[in-house]
């Protein structure tokens, strides 16, 4: 009897201001000159109205209606929670209310939704995970058991670290690249660690996330009963449907019927005697791993390639990634808390995503999310900011040397 595990990613980056070379070295306040707080507020308020608030309300109603038999999991990034606190505390309150039902689980990740898991050493990664842990503890008084890295980036090294940090499960993509002939509808064990791996069923996930409103798709129109029927025919222990929360009302507009779909889904799923809902922690507790997975090179759930080429696919991206990464040691030695925070905000993976030069199918998806018209614009802006940050660090180093 397969269990259905719904998990939603909730994230907002802190978007950048236009920053020209002529801005380099001109202003002391990095936080105000780098980040476009007005644009962020505008986007956040829009998405809150279209997605977060109505979707949370609907989930709350459904959980109450089915008396906790409908269960879901969330990951909230640190940058998202900060947006809530700054722009609309009501959004965070609605997540707290959902959590209080007991039918909602929370997932750990890096606070900044960063690529720090790909750095040469994992100390920065660990610090960002602990920051997230503190935040969840403070807001929800909870300690997550399951970890999901930025966009499900995963390899053996990351799995080992997550085991060391005390988590029982980790989420990644159920791609053939690691599974071969095997099904994603089971738990697996990393080849080098004693934790469980939850694998995203990308077909069923993308049916909702990408194909829901595609009229050329044979599955169109997707109804809750059709979807529940598909799931009831699945073999395995666990069907992991992991999608971006903005699917509801933002990527798929209300007019597509996405909320009606969600509204009827629990009822249709529970009609099938062989199906029930679990949270990620429950899945990890209930089921055993059936085999090992060995992932020496990082995979993710992004783009067709299912690797890290989304963020590190061209020379511009690799340059920004490396320059930013290399600042870390100096910054930590300097001990300036504000610059350290700014540096971490710049690590949010979205900034690199905007610089992708991928064409064809992936390119269209990239264009949809991109505040820049062209990846080159994104690079120039991001790179100028990194240069300014480097100058600020050099200047501070000089000042500390003068004092000592």
């Amino acid at each position: 009897m397969p269990s259905v595990c719904f998990y939603f990613e909730v994230h907002q980056p802190v978007r950048l201001k236009r920053f020209s070379v002529f801005n380099i070295g001109h202003d002391n306040n990095a936080f105000l000159t780098y980040f476009n707080h007005d644009l962020n507020r505008e986007i956040f308020e829009k998405v809150a109205k279209k997605c977060y608030l109505p979707a949370n309300q609907m989930l709350l109603d459904l959980i109450n209606k089915y008396d906790g038999r409908f269960r879901v999991s969330f990951s909230l990034t640190g940058t998202f929670v900060e947006c809530c606190e700054q722009f609309m505390p009501a959004v965070l309150d609605s997540f707290k209310e959902l959590f209080r039902t007991g039918a909602v689980d929370l997932i750990e990740e890096t606070y900044f939704h960063s690529l720090s898991s790909l750095y040469d050493e994992l100390d920065e990664f660990e610090e960002q995970v602990i920051m997230h842990r503190h935040m969840i503890k403070k807001i929800f008084n909870y300690r997550p058991m399951v970890f999901r890295n930025t966009e499900a980036i995963y390899d053996n090294r990351i799995a080992k670290k997550i085991e060391e940090m005390g988590y029982k499960g980790i989420i990644t993509e159920g791609t053939e690249k690691i599974l071969g002939w095997r099904s994603p509808n089971y738990l697996y064990k990393p080849v080098n660690a004693d934790i469980k791996v939850l694998l995203r069923n990308y077909t069923l996930s993308d049916d909702i996330g990408f194909r829901f409103s595609a009229q050329s798709w044979p599955g169109f129109p997707l109804t809750a009963s059709k979807y529940a029927h598909w799931m009831s025919k699945c073999q395995g222990d666990l069907i992991n449907v992991f999608i971006d929360y903005e699917t509801f009302g933002e990527h798929q507009w209300t007019e597509t019927g996405i909320f009606d779909f969600l509204k009827h889904l629990p009822e249709e799923v529970l009609k099938h005697k062989n199906l029930d809902f679990v949270t990620v922690s429950e899945a990890v507790n209930r089921y055993k791993s059936v085999g090992e997975i060995d992932v020496p090179w990082a995979i993710s759930w992004a783009d067709e390639a299912r690797d890290v080429s989304t963020w590190l696919g061209n020379e511009m991206q690799i340059t920004c990634f490396n320059e930013l990464k290399d600042i870390g040691k100096k910054l930590k030695k300097l001990g300036d808390r504000e610059l350290l925070y700014v540096w971490r905000l710049l690590q949010t993976s979205d900034h690199l995503y905007y610089i992708s030069t991928k064409g064809a199918g992936d390119g269209d998806v990239h264009a949809y999310f991109n505040p820049y018209d062209f990846p080159y614009e994104g690079f120039i802006n991001y790179m100028n900011i990194i240069q300014d940050l480097k100058e600020k660090i050099t200047q501070q180093e000089r000042e500390t040397q003068l004092i000592s």
Binding site: V21, F22, E315, T357, I380
Partner: protein
Amino acid sequence: MKVAMIGWEYPPFKVGGLGTHCYGLTRSLADRGVSIDFYMPKTNRDSITSDKPNLVIKPVGETTVFPYDHPDDKALEGQFFEAVYKYNDLCVQKIQGDYDLIHCHDWLTMKAGVLLKEKMGVPLVVTVHSTEYDRSAWLFPNEWFINIEREGMEKADRIITVSHFTKRILVERYGINPDKIRVVHNAVYPIGEGEKQRIVLFLGRLTIQKGPEFFLKAAKKVLEKEDCRFVIAGDGDMLPRLINQAIKLGISNKVIFTGLLTEDEVKHIYRISSVYVMPSVSEPFGITALEAISAGTPTIVSKTTGVSEAFHNCLKVDFWDVDEMANKIIALLRYDPLRRTLANEAKREIKLFTWDRVADKTLSVYREVA
């Protein structure tokens, strides 16, 4: 299919995109089995011949090719218009034969096209490479040209524009029915890469349309941050003013005015430049951008150009936004990864911009009417 094409310039006698376009188009059309008689003004130098049996170059009359924009010299200007008139008259008198259609280019040949269509009773196709609004940079467009252009466009059975940017001008300013306009973006014969130097290049006629003064203003800002040379290649009525402007800005030691370059010199300067800037105020297409890109040179174009709608892997600015233009020039000079990624992606994209594609699209326009 047999086509009488009425042109104005043809390489090696050319000053602009019209000549380049006619050369690439006629050769690729000939390869596709179309018979073309290409009519052009007689030059006082050696006559032009074609190595393709079904492409025949036919000089008409005794006029000499002039630059096809407004000449600066008033006396010359009178002679120029007279020459255009005379050429059109001669075309109408001399062109006869069993043609399936007439194809002419810009206002320079439109009168002849319209009269020949009536005389021979065959369809007329007109390609618009530039309008009076573009050439005047929208400042003082001359009704006299506009009327010639409008008549040609109205009488044409099909109009080819080199961009959607130009198509919009035809619809909005000339009141032309959009249903008979087809957009065919221009192409390029690749130039090939060379060893780069720290040169930022402007290449084009030095007229208000091409925006060279914005290039100089951006140069001033760039030089506050970076050391490099700026080359302004080309000739035109603004040359003395631009030299003065460079002196006033205090950057004359960093700006080189080359005057008009030969074809080989043009290729050389494209190859050795690190950045090409096309800051045109209003540019129907802008083949020079493709030429620079084909020489491996990262390119910045203004948003008011046809090439900016057609080509993805170049940087885009508003022609008046000299701060942003300078920002992008500096970024290209400073950030090697940007330069290399742009050059590599552009190299892939530019393979799509072939004259064979232009000929295919033009041929399908012919087939709509003939």
